[in-house]
C-alpha cells in the first residue's frame, strides 16, 4: 500500500494492481474503507474530460451531460471486484479468468450524476459461492443516494468458452 491521501486506504496505483480493469475503464479512484472481505467503500470523481463526453454536439443542455448509467454501474461493480480480488490474494490464490457481471436485479436510479460530482460507492458482499460473488449496495453523491443495487452476481470464468448460466 502506498501513500495515504486524506482517508485513502488504497490509491489508484494500488487499485490498478488489484483488478484487471485498465484505463480508460478503470472507474475506481480510491478505496476509503474495507472490511475484509464483506464491505468496501470506493470513490470515483466524474470529469468532463472522460471519453464518454467526447464528440458531443454543441449547445446541449445540462441533462445531456448526465454520467452514463452503464459507467455508474460498472464503477460500482469494480468496488466489489477490488474486495473479491483482495480476498483471493489473502487466500494465497490468483485470479483465474475474466470477471464478468452475470446478473443484477432491483437496481434503482434515483438521480443523475454530472461532471464534478464524486461518487461514493458502498458495496457489500452478501455471499461468496465458489468463483461467484453476490453483492449489493448503494452509490452516493454527498449524502444523496444516486443508485441502489439490490442484487448483483459476478462470476470468474476461464478465458475460453465465455458462456454460462449464472
Amino acid at each position: 500500500m502506498s501513500s495515504q491521501i486524506g482517508g485513502t486506504m488504497l490509491d489508484y496505483a494500488d487499485i490498478r494492481r488489484i483488478i484487471p480493469h485498465a484505463h480508460p475503464i478503470l472507474l475506481v479512484d480510491r478505496v476509503l474503507e474495507m472490511d475484509p472481505y464483506d464491505r468496501i467503500v470506493t470513490t470515483k470523481t466524474v470529469s468532463g474530460s472522460e471519453p464518454c463526453y467526447a464528440r458531443m454536439a454543441p449547445d446541449l443542455g445540462t441533462r445531456a451531460f448526465a454520467y452514463p448509467t452503464s459507467l455508474l454501474i460498472e464503477s460500482w461493480g469494480q468496488g466489489g471486484a477490488v474486495l473479491w480480488m483482495e480476498r483471493i490474494k489473502a487466500q494465497g490464490r490468483e485470479r483465474a479468468g475474466s470477471l464478468i457481471l452475470a446478473a443484477a436485479r432491483e437496481v434503482e436510479l434515483h438521480r443523475s450524476v454530472y461532471p464534478g460530482d464524486t461518487l461514493r460507492h458502498e458495496v457489500r458482499v452478501d455471499q461468496y459461492v465458489g468463483d461467484n460473488v453476490i453483492f449489493s449496495g448503494t452509490s452516493f453523491v454527498g449524502d444523496d443516494p444516486v443508485a441502489t443495487v439490490g442484487y448483483a452476481i459476478a462470476v470468474m470464468r476461464p478465458s475460453e468458452g465465455l458462456s454460462w448460466e449464472a
Binding site: A22, M56, T69, A103, E165
Partner: protein
C-alpha cells in the same frame, strides 16, 4: 401491445437507420451501428463489437470483452431512438431502474450484437417498461428488463 404514439409510425417496410454524427447525450460508446423501428412499440439495434471501441482497450488488456453494462447502453440508445421516432425529436427517456438483467454470453470483437426491445407504457404515468432480448448469432447474450422515465 399498447401504442406509445398517437399514430402508428411505420407503414410498409421498416427503415433501417445508420447511426452517425455527434452525440446528443453522454455515452461511453456509439453502442448501436444501425437501428430499425419495427412498430411503435418495437425497435431492433445492431452493433458490431470492435476491439477499438472506446473504453474496450481496458476491458480487458489481456482479452477484450464487451462489458455487460454496455449492453444496457446499447438497449438505451435503441429505446431513445424509438421514443424520438414516436414522440418527436425533443422527447427523451432516462433509465430509472433495472428490474432484472441477466447476461449469458460474453461478446468479443467481431461478434455482432442484436438487441430487440419491446416497449410498453409502465405502471406509472410517464414511464416505459422495456424488455430487451440480446443475441449474437444463434446464442442468447442477455435479457434486460428495464424501466424508463419519459421526458
Amino acid at each position: 401491445m399498447t401504442s406509445l404514439a398517437a399514430e402508428p409510425v411505420t407503414a410498409g417496410v421498416p427503415e433501417t437507420v445508420i447511426v452517425t454524427g455527434p452525440k446528443l447525450r453522454a455515452s461511453p460508446i456509439a453502442a448501436i451501428d444501425t437501428v430499425t423501428v419495427l412498430s411503435d412499440s418495437e425497435v431492433v439495434a445492431v452493433k458490431l463489437i470492435r476491439a477499438d471501441d472506446p473504453y474496450l482497450e481496458g476491458h480487458y488488456p489481456e482479452m477484450t470483452i464487451y462489458p455487460g453494462a454496455f449492453l444496457i447502453e446499447t438497449a438505451y440508445q435503441a429505446v431513445i431512438h424509438l421514443v424520438q421516432k414516436t414522440r418527436g425529436p425533443e422527447a427523451n427517456a432516462e433509465l430509472s431502474g433495472l428490474d432484472s438483467v441477466r447476461f449469458t454470453t460474453a461478446l468479443r470483437p467481431g461478434d455482432e450484437l442484436r438487441v430487440h426491445c419491446e416497449c410498453r407504457p409502465g405502471d406509472e404515468p410517464g414511464t416505459l417498461a422495456v424488455i430487451a432480448h440480446c443475441t449474437t448469432g444463434d446464442a442468447k447474450a442477455a435479457l434486460l428488463k428495464m424501466r424508463y422515465r419519459l421526458r
